[in-house]
């Protein structure tokens, strides 16, 4: 009922700047390369993995591609962290991705809403607790992947400073975390931005930069689109 009323007068707000759009596009490209080259190694016994590996020119080429994509991913993550760190430090924008007490309250409220104990879904800030959850999982998971990835790429250098057992441990982290992030993307992010009834067939805001004002958010039109 609520959604229908709102849809009568669609109001668009600027949600993402060109910088964010490009950043997300690069991330998609790198994620696909990393997932294909990484998961085909993780599930090397599967026929499809072996076909992919052979099509890409063998396991050495697959690892080379994975490493190159990994380096670009590292660069992307570093610029993201530095850029946002400076935004927060120099107060050029609001730290909209920081997790606050309100997020916990929103999450609890929505649980109640889903269970039928509340009539309305919660009014979130610019980014909902769900978006923040996935953002931090990707960012922190990404950093974890970068560290463990470099350990696995340079095991000899790593064991100059770390005990040998850290290599298989790094491998366990890298391979499991990759799977976790992949599942998170496959199950949640794809649902939330594509199959979720509110946005089906696709939430284009990350590609166009504009979003419909939704009842779940109290988002204001943010001039610079940074966040």
């Amino acid at each position: 009922m609520v959604y229908r009323e709102m849809s009568d007068k669609v109001e668009y707000i600027r949600r993402f700047s060109l910088y964010r759009i490009v950043e997300h596009l690069v991330l998609i490209a790198l994620f696909v390369v990393l997932a294909v080259t990484g998961l085909s190694q993780k599930f090397h016994a599967l026929g499809i993995s072996q076909s992919i590996i052979i099509a890409l020119g063998g396991v050495d080429s697959v690892r080379f591609l994975h490493h190159v994509a990994g380096v670009f991913f590292t660069a992307l993550a570093l610029q993201h962290i530095l850029a946002n760190f400076s935004v927060i430090v120099f107060r050029q924008g609001e730290p909209s991705m920081l997790i606050t007490v309100k997020d916990a309250q929103d999450a609890l409220h929505n649980v109640r809403y889903y269970l039928g104990l509340a009539d309305q879904p919660v009014m979130c800030d610019r980014y909902s607790y769900k978006e923040k959850f996935i953002y931090w999982l990707i960012l922190l998971g990404g950093i974890q992947q970068i560290i463990t990835g470099f350990i696995l790429w340079f095991p000899v250098a790593a064991t100059k400073y770390l005990p040998g057992q850290f290599i298989p441990a790094a491998k366990a982290v890298h391979t499991n975390e990759a799977m976790l992030i992949f599942l998170l993307m496959a199950i949640w992010h794809i649902y939330d931005s594509m199959f979720s009834p509110e946005v089906f067939p696709l939430n284009k805001s990350i590609f166009t930069g504009y979003a419909e004002r939704r009842p779940e958010t109290q988002e204001k039109n943010s001039g610079n689109g940074q966040g």
Binding site: V156, A172, M179
Partner: protein, 483 residues
């Protein structure tokens, strides 16, 4: 004549009485026919003369005929031009022409395809195609023909050849070396070739021919003799031709072994069942490897306990198609070689060894990479260019001098491990070998850090997936309710 007419009458009567009897069943008529023929041909002394003065005896040994495989045939089954009434006087230029003509009769029953299927006949057909005469009876004899397996061919030939070759004589080579031409009958009879005739191997030699051959040296003679074997053992010869020993020979390294160097000549043995003998054979040239092997866990068990489970040279290197062990193709198949025994739970159970060693290797970096390399090589050999060799079993455990990995062996192996790692990982430090969990599965006592990480994700992953799916489900459910 009266007798002859009487006999014909008897034969005809017998034929009438047994109308169903086939040509190959020795019936009364056949017996009668034989008797009649043997009346003359059973007498020694009569001969058939040829224009060149040569002659052939017309005597047929009745006893030999009765013992032959053709005992159920009638005389006229082979000698088709002859009947009880007809005995044509045939003219031949010489004895050879006579024998060739008679041999043609054999092909009426023994189809070419059947004869050709025997490797030993292959060369004869080539000879025949080249226009040379091939006479079946040279080897199989005529009336006394027996099953090859029965050995009568070889027996008569043996007797013939051994008239000279039983005594000590020498064959001298141009180099001044010599070999004895003596053949010990006992050796021959004890060999798997006891039913093979002399000329089956010594092709070109027969009671009529004994070509004189000249060899530069004894080695040259032995190499030439080895070529004999391929006529029957073509499969083994082909395998050997792909092996390192043959490759050495082909580049002039004549010391490389051929068939008879390992298997022997007249006292030939297959070696297959005598595992100790195989090792001793290889020792002839590879004595250094033998010494190291003898001290290893495998060699020790072979020599001390005569253990039949431990691998001998040929189990890893194969016997005929021996690959160059320095080639990457050989190196890369080592895990497969070792796993033939080390992934066999029954065999390993006997010695309290775990089959996990193969699994843990194959699921780790080196094993996975090697497996993918092999896949690539198989799928697109033209594009296969591996970056670097992958460590296999022997790179850590050693090859011939492999030691038991228990007690003191573990410490000894660990001590050398860093050096072994440094073969590929040049700047590896002391910590590095611990990156390999020594075939152990992570547990709280072995690699606890790895174990904890794995357990964490084992719990986290399903929790997260279920949580997310639950969230998706609730979201859709609530949306539908609101509608």
């Amino acid at each position: 004549m009266r007798v002859r007419a009487y006999m014909i009458g008897v034969v005809l009567l017998a034929c009438l009485m047994l109308p169903g009897a086939g040509a190959f069943a020795q019936d009364g008529a056949g017996e009668q026919e034989k008797k009649q023929c043997l009346k003359c041909h059973g007498e020694q002394g009569s001969v058939k003369k040829f224009p060149d003065g040569d002659f052939v005896s017309t005597y047929v040994d009745a006893h030999a005929l009765d013992m032959s495989v053709h005992r159920s045939l009638r005389c006229t089954s082979c000698h088709k031009e002859f009947t009880n009434q007809r005995h044509p006087d045939r003219a031949f230029r010489n004895k050879l022409q006579f024998r060739i003509k008679e041999s043609h009769g054999c092909r009426d029953c023994h189809a070419e395809g059947t004869i050709k299927s025997r490797a030993i006949h292959e060369a004869l057909f080539k000879k025949e195609a080249a226009g040379e005469a091939v006479v079946c009876t040279n080897c199989h004899s005529a009336h006394a023909v027996t099953h090859i397996a029965g050995g009568n061919v070889s027996k008569s030939e043996e007797k013939y050849c051994l008239r000279c070759h039983a005594s000590e004589k020498k064959m001298v080579f141009r180099s001044g070396e010599s070999v004895s031409t003596r053949v010990k009958l006992a050796e021959l009879q004890g060999s798997p070739h006891r039913n093979v005739g002399c000329s089956d191997c010594h092709f070109g030699f027969s009671s009529e021919e004994h070509p004189r051959r000249q060899f530069r040296s004894e080695r040259q003679y032995r190499l030439s003799s080895s070529e004999i074997c391929r006529r029957c053992h073509f499969d083994m010869y082909t395998k050997a031709a792909e092996g390192i020993h043959y490759a050495m020979l082909s580049v002039g390294k004549l010391e490389a072994p051929t068939c008879i160097d390992c298997h022997g000549g007249h006292a030939i043995s297959s070696l297959g069942n005598n595992r100790l003998a195989v090792v001793q054979k290889c020792k002839t040239c590879h004595s250094e490897v033998y010494e190291v092997y003898a001290r290893s866990v495998h060699g020790g068990a072979l020599f001390k306990e005569n253990n039949k489970d431990v691998p001998i040279c040929t189990d890893c290197h194969s016997s005929h198609g021996i690959k160059d062990p320095s080639l990457p193709e050989f190196h890369d198949t080592i895990p497969d070689t070792c796993s033939k025994c080390h992934s066999n739970a029954v065999l390993m159970g006997k010695y309290g060894l775990s089959t996990e060693v193969v699994k843990t290797y194959l699921t780790d970096f080196h094993g996975v990479t090697l497996g993918l390399y092999q896949k690539e090589q198989k799928e697109s050999p033209e594009r296969y260019r591996p970056d670097r060799p992958m460590a296999v079993c022997t790179d850590c455990h050693g090859t011939h001098g492999i030691a038991a990995v228990s007690g003191a062996g573990v410490q000894a192996l660990k001590k050398t491990l860093l050096k072994r790692c440094q073969t590929c990982h040049r700047n590896a430090t002391e910590n590095f070998p611990d990156a390999w969990l020594s075939h152990y599965k992570p547990s709280l006592t072995n690699a606890p850090l790895v174990f904890i990480v794995e357990q964490f994700y084992k719990i986290m992953m399903p929790l997260m997936v279920v949580g997310l799916l639950f969230q998706v489900f609730l979201h859709i459910w609530r949306y539908l309710v609101n509608r």
